[in-house]
Each structure stands twice: as C-alpha cells, then as structure tokens.
C-alpha cells in the first residue's frame, strides 16, 4: 500500500533517509526528492493541519474586511496606533493573507503529492490478486485453528475440497480470493474492503475539488446589493447596483438582463406575547420579475428563502422605510419628489436619512431626517420609535440651505450630509424648531425658501389608519456563483468517501488446510486488519464457524 512512509500501516523504513548520512552526496535531485518526501509525509500533513487551525484563530478575534468592513473602520478609529500594525501583518484579511494562503497551499500540495501515487497504486491493487498466504499463519494478529481427526473427516473431504468450500464462501461474502499452495498445505487468500481506500482517495480528491470550485466560482461570479422601494424596479445591469463586487474573471456577459419590481413588502410582528411584543416574526418581499420580452412572473423572497432567477440568487437581507417627500422651492416649483430609503438604527426602526434638493431655487436645499414608524416620547422629551410597524409615523427634519457641493465631483455618501458650506435653517442651533410631519402634512420653510410635504401613499385610508402610509424598502443581496453546483457535488462526493473510508473495514483473511501425517486435517484461519478494523476478530471467528459447518455437513 503506497501510503506515506510514516503511515502506521506503511512498509517504508522507520525514518526518512537523512540527507548527508545515508548518502554521501544528495545533489539537487536528491534534495528535491528528500523535500518532496517530507512534504508528502503524514507528519507534515498533521503539522500543516494544526497550523491551519491556529492560523484561522485571529480571524475570529479581529474584524475582517471580508465579513465586517465597518468593524475594521471602527477598530481603526478606536485604536489608531495599533490598527496599522495589525493591518501590516494582514490581521484584517486573515483568510486571504500571505501566511494563511501559504499554509493551505502547502497543505494541498502535500495532499496532491500524497493522493496521486496512492491512486496509481490503488488502481493497480484493484487489478491484482490478493497476496500469497503467509507460511506461518499462527503469527498473525488474529488466528484460530481446528483439527478434524481422521474419524471426524467425511470420506469425500480433503484439503482441496475444504479450501474450495472456503473459497466459495469468502467469495460469496464479497472477498476477492486466490488459491495458493505451500509446503504446509493448500490455502485461500482473501481480501475485502478496497472501497475503504477508494473512499479515502475520493475524500481527499474531493477536498481539492472543493477548493478549486470555490476559487473559480469566486473568480467568475459577482455579488451586489440593491435597495428597492415598494413600487420601484431594479434592472440587472452593473450601473443599477448600489454596490457591486465582481470576481477576478468577471465580464459583463455574466449579467443576465432582467427586471424585478418590488410590489409589496410584508412584515409581521409579534402581537401575542407581551415579552416579545413587536419582535419581527416574518418578512416577505412580493416581487414581479421580467425577462426581456417576457411576461411578468410573481414570486416571493423571504429571509431564509432566496429567489433563483436569471442566473442569480436574490436574497432578502434587510428592510426599512422610505418616506416619500415632496419639496417645493421658493418659486413654488416642485424641486424634488421621491421615496428616500432611511437606514434603520434600532429594532423599532427608528431610521435616519438625508434628502438633497440640488434643483431648488434660489438656493439648494438639504435635509437630515429621522423617521419614527411609531413615535413615542422619551422622558427627556426626545422622540423615539416604540414599535417597528406604522402606528404613529412621524418624520422630523433639520433643514439646510446653501451649496451642496455636488459639482465638485467628489462622490458623496447618500446616507450622510456634510454641513460644510450649508446654513442650517430649521432645527438644532438655527433658532427655528425642527420640522415635524405626519404623512399628508406640509410645512413651509423659513425665509420663503419653499415647503416640504410628507406624502402619504395611502391617501384613501381611514382617519388614523397609518398602516400603508409610508412605503417600505427591501435591501436585496444579489449573487451569481456559477460554481456553486460543483462545490455541492464535491462536498457530497467527499462525504460519501469519508463515510466509506471510516466505516468500511479493509481486511485480509486466510484459510489454510494442512493434511496431518496420521490422516485428518487441521484448518487454520487468520486475519489481518488494514487500517482501523475493530470487528476483525469476530469476522474471522464467524468465517471459521460457517466454514466448519459447511465442512462437517
């Protein structure tokens, strides 16, 4: 069995050849061979596995850019001196770091070096007969014998017929068999459990498959995020995404053109249990999807239930409110009307957002706002939301006028407002109270700069029924991973390989018939485990018992 030389079953020498001791001169080739042998040894595999486990730990202690980019920014803010040092040694990118990659690449190199020769060897072993029976079976790990005296031995039985019976019996139980004859007698040599080694090889090869598929899938795929407000649509082109992360080998051709409309977003909150009152129970995004030229199809997206469409998986990651606001400028023209997604700040969906009105005349306008789906008052007098559903929606706005700086070309965060160059005209220190609106209400801005309306989107609702007055938005995560199916395939193969390699016993069994000088037969049974085989003892005993029965009958 061509296992690594330091495998417990291995037939190699106890110790690897030491360079310079066993051979006076190794040469480059000798060193290469020595190095390769070390790399593909079991010991190296263990050490690399342990290194891999240790190297993975820091990724759980410090925020990672891949999974928690905001955490990294925060860490930088809190530890301005330490952060750059950690960053230098890639502790915020552990799983793509040089050192982590080095460990797993070495491990997989070792794995390939280990699996390839074993596969070749195993393929050969699958086609060769079981090995010759050892002369002295009694030396083997499991051995038992039984003697049939001349009188006990039926006339038609001799060494040849009993061994033939053993051969047939072993074959029928799935052993591969071969007959041998030596100085002591006739024997059958049998081996079973080749599937154990096959499984082991499939398992290790599947690990390589998973790694390659994950790598390629990441390379050819993409992920993107998009916030869609009720009633609005999203078109699957690169420019339509709020954020878009292509893989290394991504081309625009990977984007299938389609359109998706968020018809309605349903949120259900706990009403029964007082303790959990207002906790979310269920979110559903009702959407309609269109392929080019096709008819619309209605579907739903839920939190644990993504929509597979147009080569994408579309996930529901978050949701919130997008108050619809209309701004008239000082000249009475409508300068702005839109639903603006506000970012939720807490479990009751107190949300913040920014409205920019560059088209307002004579001066540009901007608003920083808070939205409370169910406004309640803190003891300090400040507002807060006390329920995530629309029971008492209130929008408060700080208003600014001046130059929004949009012409400078510097991209701006749509959820934050830099007050530089702006004059606050309502709220804060401006001397004018902050604007406070409920759906349907309008307030004039100071200094004749215009007016703001908090539009209701359910104008016909009964008095006091706010339930659909403010549109909701869904934040969607959109993924394309062409290799996902391959990953799953290799994972399944790996599991099957693992199971057969751990639980199928591989063993050799011998039955030998020795004709005694005074007549009669001694039947010898022996077994040898190849790898873990706790049941060997019982198996040999069972074989002996069945064989003895068939011989005596």
């Amino acid at each position: 069995m061509s296992r690594p030389f330091d495998h417990i079953d291995g037939s190699g020498p106890q110790a690897p050849p030491e360079p310079g001791i066993t051979q006076p001169k190794l040469g480059i080739l000798g060193y290469a061979r020595f190095f390769w042998r070390q790399l593909t040894s079991m010991r190296t595999a263990i050490v690399l596995l342990l290194f891999l486990a240790i190297a993975a730990i820091p990724g759980s202690m410090w925020p990672q850019r891949s999974s928690d980019p905001n955490g990294v920014i925060q860490f930088y803010a809190n530890n301005p001196t330490l952060a750059p040092v950690l960053d230098r040694i890639q502790l915020f990118d552990v799983y793509t770091s040089v050192w982590f990659s080095a460990i797993y690449l070495l491990l997989f190199l070792s794995l390939i070096g280990c699996v390839l020769p074993r596969t070749l060897h195993h393929v050969r072993a699958l086609r060769t007969k079981p090995p010759r029976t050892p002369i002295r079976l009694e030396r083997l790990a499991v051995f038992q014998s039984t003697t049939l005296t001349k009188s006990e031995l039926p006339a038609e039985l001799n060494a040849a017929t009993t061994i033939e019976a053993a051969r047939a019996q072993l074959r029928a139980s799935g052993y591969r068999v071969a007959l041998f004859e030596d100085a002591k007698g006739l024997s059958v040599s049998a081996e079973r459990g080749y599937l154990r080694e096959t499984g082991n090889l499939v398992f290790h090869t599947a690990l390589i498959g998973v790694l390659v598929a994950v790598g390629l899938g990441g390379g050819f795929g993409y992920t993107g995020q998009k916030v869609v407000v009720e009633g609005q649509s999203f078109v699957n082109i690169k420019g339509a995404y709020d954020s878009f992360t292509p893989g290394r080998f991504f081309t625009d051709a990977a984007l299938q053109p389609y359109r998706l409309t968020l018809d309605e977003f349903d949120a259900v909150y706990e009403e029964q249990s007082l303790r959990a009152y207002g906790q979310p129970i269920d979110y559903t995004a009702h959407v309609t999807t269109w392929l080019p030229g096709g008819k619309g199809t209605k579907s739903t997206i839920k939190v644990n239930d993504p929509l597979a469409f147009g080569g994408n998986q579309i996930y529901l990651l978050g949701n919130g409110y997008a108050p619809k606001v209309t701004v008239r400028d000082g000249k009475g023209n409508i300068a702005f009307t839109a639903s603006v997604p506000f970012l939720p700040q807490d479990a009751n969906l107190t949300s913040t957002g920014v409205i920019r009105v560059p088209d307002a005349l004579p001066e540009q306008l901007a608003f920083r706002g808070f939205f409370y789906p169910t406004a309640g008052q803190l003891s300090s007098g400040a507002l807060t939301s006390i329920h995530p559903d629309l029971r008492n929606p209130v929008l408060t706005l700080f208003a600014y006028s001046g130059d929004l700086g949009l012409d400078s070309g510097i991209p701006q965060n749509v959820y934050a407002l830099d007050p530089k160059g702006l004059t606050q005209i309502a709220g804060g220190d401006s001397g004018v109270a902050a604007i406070e609106l409920q759906p349907g209400q309008t307030v004039d801005l100071p200094d004749g700069l215009g007016s703001v309306t908090f539009d209701t989107v359910s104008p016909d609702a009964a008095e006091g029924d706010w339930s659909h007055s403010v549109p909701r938005f869904a934040s969607l995560d959109i993924h394309h991973d062409p290799a996902q199916g391959w990953v799953l395939l290799f994972v399944i193969l790996g599991v099957l390989g693992l199971l057969s390699s751990l639980f199928i016993p591989r063993r050799r069994v011998w039955v030998k018939a020795v004709e005694l000088p005074k007549g009669g037969l001694r039947l010898e049974y022996a077994g040898l485990a190849r790898g873990e085989d706790p049941g060997l003892d019982g198996a040999v005993a069972a074989i002996a018992e069945r064989h003895a029965l068939s011989v005596k009958a």
Binding site: L140, I281, V303, N304, L498, E545
Partner: protein, 334 residues
C-alpha cells in the same frame, strides 16, 4: 399555555439536576470502591474471554502490538478485579439514577419546546439544556455497545455544570424565533452539532482516562488505584478513536448543514464569520487527530492530547465564542 409549559420545563430541569447530583455522588463512591477493591495495583486488567463461543480461539492478547491490528479485543468484558461478577452495586445505582435524571431532562427539553412552539435550541439557555441532554443520552445509549460506565463521574459532572450554568446564568423566557432562525436547516445544523459534541465529549473522557492509564502503566502514577479496574490504555485509545470518528462525521454534517443554512440566510455558504471559523478550526483539529492516529510516533499519548485540544476548542466555541466574540451568529439571547 406557553407560560405553563415553560414552568413545567423548569420543574423538570431542576429535578433532573437533583438526580444528576445523586448519580454523580454514587459514581464517585464507585470510584472510591474500585480503588479500595484494587489495593494492590495489578499490571493489567483481567480480561474475560471465557464468554466467547468459538472453538479453539487463540486470542492474540498481544496482537494489538502488531501494526495495523487494532481493537482485536472488542466487546470483551473487563472483569472486576475483586472477582465479583455482575458489576458493582454503586455503579448500577448510579447508572440507573443517570437514566432517571435523563428522562426528567428530556421531559424538560420537551416542555420547553412546547412552550416555544419550535425546537428548543435558539439561545444559550436552550442550547445548554439540549446539548447536555444529548451528551448524557449518547453516554446512556453507548452502553448497548460498550460498557463505558466508568466515565459516569465525568459525564454526570459535565452535564451538571452545563445544565446548571445554562439554567441559572443564561435563563431567558420564551421568545419567538427571529426570521433568520426560521429554517429547518437550523434544526438539522444545531442537532448534528450537538450530537458531534456529545461524541467528542465521550471521546475526550476516554482520552483523559487513557492518558492517566498510560502513566500508570509506565508506573509513574501511584495513586488513582481505580484505574486498575478500567481498560488498558491501548483499548481506551481504540474506543476513543471509534467514538470520535462518529463525532467527526456529525461535525462534517454540521459544517455542511451550516453552510447550506448560511447560503439560504445570508447569500453565501462560507464567509468566515466567527462561528464558521470555529466550526472549521474544530473540524481541522479532529482531521489532525485522525491523521495522528494513523501516523507513526503520533499514536498514543500525542493523539490523545489532540483529542483533548479538539474538545477544548468545542467547549471554547460554545462558551467564550458565543458570549464574547461578535459575528452574525448573535443568537445567545442575552
């Protein structure tokens, strides 16, 4: 209704804890008795092979020394060294008490599940409740395969600590499941993780006894005479391996079910989130253990230490990581 069930659950849990305490005491008394009965430490436990019904067995007593041949002495009963058969009375009482406590424990988990209206493993308290229950359950059911009652002190002690700390320190009232947890993958994921943990836990217990036994066999451990009544180090190692390998398979399913759930919930099957990292670390550690068992120079004491490190990582994952590390899996409910 829910409130009533939740209070039944607590009654059952506290009763279970009381009975576990008794079982623990009896298991400990049994250890003391083993020590007393084994005044003169013998080199090797007596092995009872008489029950074998096969002809002419030449059982290879030292066969295990031979390469590749392991676990030859499967299912052998270790005869008590004071010569009495039928097991020790203390141990039998302790085992029966453990079974009784476990039934109460399961009842507690069932009532909690009824109170919740969903499987009771969505916060730290419920998790301690169910995981300690599964550990004891695995210990009880493993008896059909092997007599592992000598681990009773360890298992009942472990269950008491987990259940006690979970109930006293982490108790939370019944709450509905947030949408992210409403997935049958969660049910599978957590259940196999707990099963894996239980097998790793029993394996760790066996490895601890193995390490002690190795020292005793090398005559470096004079005390702890009860070890003389337990299987030899080699046999313990084989038992540990076979238990841990089952745990490893469950852990592999944990990893897979977890990534399928992550794929459904967060849109990626693997993102190196804190809990994912630790599940991975544990898996890799036990892969290392399995390799160690097959490597010259790593079998025996070294692989036993690896098994303990692996289980240490499991314990770390359920305690420190759940409570103090941040990540997406913040479901401890605290």
């Amino acid at each position: 209704m829910s409130e009533t069930f939740a209070s039944y659950a607590l009654v059952a849990i506290y009763s279970a804890m009381a009975v576990y305490v008794l079982a623990f005491v009896f298991f400990t008394l049994d250890l003391a008795q083993r020590s007393a009965a084994n005044q003169k430490p013998k080199g090797e436990a007596k092995v009872d092979v008489a029950s074998r019904a096969t002809i002419g067995v030449v059982a290879g007593q030292n066969a295990t020394a031979e390469r590749g041949a392991v676990g030859v002495l499967e299912r052998d009963r270790i005869a008590p060294s004071d010569g009495r058969t039928g097991g020790r009375r203390m141990e039998r009482v302790a085992f029966a008490l453990t079974a009784l406590a476990w039934i109460l424990h399961v009842a507690g988990a069932l009532f909690r599940g009824l109170a919740d209206g969903h499987v009771p493993w969505s916060n730290m308290f419920e998790f301690s409740l169910v995981s300690s229950g599964i550990v004891v359950g695995v210990f009880l059911f493993l008896q059909f395969w092997q007599d592992l009652r000598f681990l009773g002190t360890y298992i009942t002690g472990f269950a008491l600590v987990v259940l006690g700390v979970g109930t006293v320190n982490f108790y939370v009232p019944v709450t509905p499941l947030p949408p992210a947890l409403q997935s049958y993958w969660l049910v599978i994921h957590v259940f196999v993780a707990t099963l894996g943990t239980a097998f790793f836990g029993v394996g760790a217990g066996l490895s601890i006894v193995q390490l002690l036994q190795t020292r005793r066999e090398a005559n470096r451990l004079a005390g702890l005479r009860f070890l003389g009544t337990m299987p030899g180090a080699e046999k313990l190692e084989n038992l540990a391996y076979r238990v841990i390998v089952v745990g490893f398979v469950f852990w592999t399913f944990t990893l897979i079910a977890g990534s399928i759930w992550a794929e459904r919930a967060w849109g990626r099957y693997w993102g190196w989130d804190t809990k994912e990292v630790w599940t991975f670390i544990i898996w890799v550690l036990f892969a290392g253990y399995i390799h160690a068992r097959a490597t010259r120079g790593w079998r025996g004491t070294r692989s036993a230490w690896l098994a303990l490190i692996g289980f240490g990582a499991v314990a770390f994952n359920y305690t420190i990581v759940n409570l103090f590390f941040k990540g997406l899996h913040v479901y401890s409910g605290l």
